[in-house]
Symmetry: none
Subunit: 195 residues, 4 copies
Amino acid sequence: MRRDQILAGARACFVRKGFHAASTAEISAEAKVSVANLYQYFETKDDLVRALIEQDLASDLALVQAVEAAGSFREGLEMAGRLMTSDTDVAQDSRLRLEIIAEAARNPAIAALVKAADDHLVDALGALIAHYQAKGELSSDIAPNTAARLIGALYDGMFCRFAFGLGDTEELIAAADRFVFQALAAVQPPSHPSI
Amino acid sequence: MRRDQILAGARACFVRKGFHAASTAEISAEAKVSVANLYQYFETKDDLVRALIEQDLASDLALVQAVEAAGSFREGLEMAGRLMTSDTDVAQDSRLRLEIIAEAARNPAIAALVKAADDHLVDALGALIAHYQAKGELSSDIAPNTAARLIGALYDGMFCRFAFGLGDTEELIAAADRFVFQALAAVQPPSHPSI
Amino acid sequence: MRRDQILAGARACFVRKGFHAASTAEISAEAKVSVANLYQYFETKDDLVRALIEQDLASDLALVQAVEAAGSFREGLEMAGRLMTSDTDVAQDSRLRLEIIAEAARNPAIAALVKAADDHLVDALGALIAHYQAKGELSSDIAPNTAARLIGALYDGMFCRFAFGLGDTEELIAAADRFVFQALAAVQPPSHPSI
Amino acid sequence: MRRDQILAGARACFVRKGFHAASTAEISAEAKVSVANLYQYFETKDDLVRALIEQDLASDLALVQAVEAAGSFREGLEMAGRLMTSDTDVAQDSRLRLEIIAEAARNPAIAALVKAADDHLVDALGALIAHYQAKGELSSDIAPNTAARLIGALYDGMFCRFAFGLGDTEELIAAADRFVFQALAAVQPPSHPSI
DNA sequence: GATGAATGAGGGTTCATTCAT
DNA sequence: TATGAATGAACCCTCATTCAT
């Protein structure tokens, strides 16, 4: 309860100012809690950051599960796209995600968290791709996990853009879905056999 | 020059610690310059950041020009991939780029810079794609600028991962090239106009 | 009783960290009591400190009584020395004593307590010395209360050293006894009244 | 210069409130310096404390040298006593000394400093005592270093008392000198041959 | 009587920035 | 131009203390 309230306040502040620029004073004000109280729920500002990051990374799994539940790869992609944009505010989520990745680039502990979450995601998505490759719905020209990694990168890259208001969110996601499907589906690779 | 020397020191520090965590004291130490001296070349730490960002964004244009100079789209992609990895340290560049995007997500002034650079890039890449679509090398199913934006996103997303050491740099870039080409290629290979 | 339980916890913490560095949280944890509960027995941390100091100062009287009960001054000194080292942990007691004196040096209220206890002690010891001076066992060259004060100082000084583990406790106390006796003994041994 | 100014301010504050209760804000105010400036001369409040302690301990050597320079032990004692009381404010010095010893009781690093200084002092004083024992001015009944340690303890104990205004400073020191001399000089140990 | 939750005040430390030289 | 010295503002965190239950 109180803990969640604080996490929510922290999320708002981190989205607005980033991990480093958001002060514990701001966060507690946003969460309508005293600073000292905040420290009864989180040992350290870093701990608070870590908790938020874990919360955020965990939400990725929902996406994969949606894709898994779909009847075809294409459908799964569309479902995932819809889930992403269904959220209250994609730009905010994107900012937090961006902040997380930036923090991972400097803080090895955070990097480990992000890597673990990413591996998890890539494995799940890779398995799915392998499944559809076996069924013939997708081309087998690319290693499943490599494809998964590229899809992950594409989405991350879009989030980077959404984070500071570049382009129309839903439109780009829809285009991305088609783009990915086209890249992976190509039944008969045109002119350049395989490479 | 003194200014460049300071920028170089700043770059090293920002890559290592991020814009917020790198102190002017650290930067001047790295640049072998006194703090007060730094302030004779940059009015503010923010100015220093801005200068570095502009420097960094400008380097993107080289990529587009390489793609433009190539004989085919595919060749252009490969060239771009090679250019990116030819740099001294991709991880470092990626970290700075990531830091820039994260900063853009909070600072509207920086966002404007990044948007302008991105628009520039998208326009150039979009024009190129349109050119190859007209020649039949690429499918016309996708709007050229949308394709350009997706390509940009894919590369940004890969940089995000490189920034904290996820995956093999060159291998992933090569796969990305094929991925992009596959996604955009004309379904009916133009090299077999026989049909 | 609860109160004693808290005092014991406080003693342990104060010995370990000193009055200022020991927090009420630590003390209640050590006493296995909630912080709020502690405040039902002591209005203030200062009150707790004061109570502990009074407890500690009171224990000094036992020493004087031991000396009074002895048959000769020398014997009394030995008895006192034995009492002091018989305690569970001289170093711990010394630390607390030291902490008390240091606190007295800043806090007039505590200073008053310590002075009163010291006066009491000096008077009792002085009376004893006067008694043995009259009997000729001790030299009358020194005012009884001055001698008492010097003896007190010597012991306090030794406690200061014991507090951080300087030297062998029992050995030094034994030497101190001889030292004191030598200093106060009648120049012409009273046991050879022949002259 | 600045450093000394800060040390002086710190000394005043530490005497008044003790190491823990004196805040860096108070110290810098007393030294007429900004807090940030203080931190350019001392890395840490602990460093400041340590510097002050070292300064204080070093001043002890002057005493020993005075005793060494004297023609007889008794004369040396008197000289030392005069030196101690000649200082601007014995009570203040005593408070700082007390604070140092109390800190040594908790902080091993400080304990090491104090022990080293004490060993130095005991050795010097012990050598002197041995010298006068050889000359026959002092009795050989006591080990020189033990005697030195006891003398040190006696003086420390007196300082403890001076620290909170117990008794007349000069009078007690004079009495202590006689006390010590009597204890060590006793040409013919009265009645209790050696023990 | 007992406690978990809550907080205002303050503590040590750092930082971007200025200025006299 | 170049710098050592200086500082106000802020930051993270802790503590003695209170109060509703």
